[in-house]
Point group: C2
Chain length 220, copies 2
DNA sequence: CTATAAGATGACCACCTGGTCATTTTGTGG
DNA sequence: CCACAAAATGACCAGGTGGTCATCTTATAG
């Protein structure tokens, strides 16, 4: 990969400051419009040093990108494991709440994610889009397949269509939490935790009504 | 509004060339990264002239923006009127097909739309997001309300949630048609018309199964 | 054909960018 | 305290930006 040993040798405090500032910068401005000069000013580190650490702006972004991917991967794995014994719709509920929680903790990473979706001038965008598909395939697909096998989901549904729909609805829910006017007048935008809890509940109940088997194994 | 009389006085041919080039440029590069120099080179018109016509880069974008909004508005109105007598799900089907058709005809406008969703450095972005909400409220909401009143939709569903879900699924369907790897392995990306026809049909059938009343007034 | 107004033009400006590298500062072992 | 290496620095560069405006070209009217 790109050589960042020089950067890795820095004091943790300095490293964190650089990472935080860079994430912020890329989240706010995308790739092309992000300014290494500004990052240098904000971190108090000479521009030359930043280029010594990462080679190029793209190298710096590569590092941030990998960092973010790893964070997301860990989160998905964790949620998947923690909810393994739950009912299908309960898992969807947990996934949505985990998504909101992740965004709360790492808003700038999510902002970068949203920008990369439709902004072609990001480096590694193809890799990024492939990873998204992989995440969806590795996370949602097996979840749906298990849901059908367990009888939580109506047996007449096409797995791919369920995955596609869930992906769309869940993504949109998270987007509406971050972008004004993308909610359906439902006050999703920057809703406080207790309101989110109810919104997620309502949405999942709605999904259950459309996708759930009539008499599932569980109660409710 | 911003003064564009100077531009309006030009020969239609010249006007169209400018509009087409500008739409292309903003679609490819967003706002900040779009270059008036490049547009001048591509149209063969002096940069100074472009600034005489539109005042600023923002003025030029304002014109393109209004132009695009008007196009979309007309399209929505037309589809809504043309499908007024159809069954609810038939209308959704028609809307999706009309969406794909619009994107085929105006791919760059749709690209600008996608970029504006998450790129904050566009001028008029708040206005844009409000318009989106308005379109959704004026288009999808009454459609769903009529669908429920007509008994096409299950009566126990919450209108807002149906609108939210449809919005999410339909938007995602169109996005998947334009961005690779956003489809659920379903080959939506840049699918040819006949494939789109089938995909839309499958999706709508799927939606009908989840949202439709058991015994609607019509056949099928 | 001329006088005048309207329009087109591109050199120019200040500013910002990613990236370089000679120079200075700092850290370390003896 | 020194010597030497490693790290930090910011002036500098070429190239691009949005925007201006004196100058030139064109069209029109008398």
């Amino acid at each position: 990969m790109t050589a960042t040993e020089r950067f890795q040798r820095l004091k943790p405090e300095k490293k964190e400051k650089i990472v935080a500032t860079a994430i912020d910068e890329f989240a706010r401005y995308g790739f092309r419009q992000a300014s290494v000069n500004r990052m240098a000013r904000l971190t108090g580190i000479a521009k030359g040093s930043l280029f010594q650490y990462f080679g190029t702006k793209e190298g710096l972004f590569r590092f941030i990108f990998d960092h973010a991917v790893e964070l997301i991967r860990r989160n998905l794995r964790r949620v998947k494991a923690e909810t393994a014994d739950q009912d299908f719709f309960e898992r969807i509920r947990s996934s949505l709440l985990a998504g909101v929680s992740f965004i709360r903790k790492h808003p700038h990473i999510y902002q970068i994610y949203l920008k990369m979706l439709f902004q072609e001038d990001f480096p590694f965008r193809d890799e990024f889009l492939q990873k998204i598909r992989l995440f969806s395939a590795e996370y949602l697909t097996p979840l749906v397949e298990k849901g059908m096998a367990d009888g939580d989901l109506r047996p007449d549904l096409d797995v791919h269509l369920v995955v596609f729909t869930l992906d769309a609805v869940m993504d949109r829910f998270l987007q509406a939490h971050c972008v004004p006017f993308l909610d359906g007048n439902a006050g999703l935008f920057q809703a406080p935790p207790e309101r989110v809890e109810k919104q997620v509940g309502d949405l999942v109940d709605f999904l259950r009504r459309g996708l759930g088997a009539e008499q599932p194994s569980g109660r409710r």
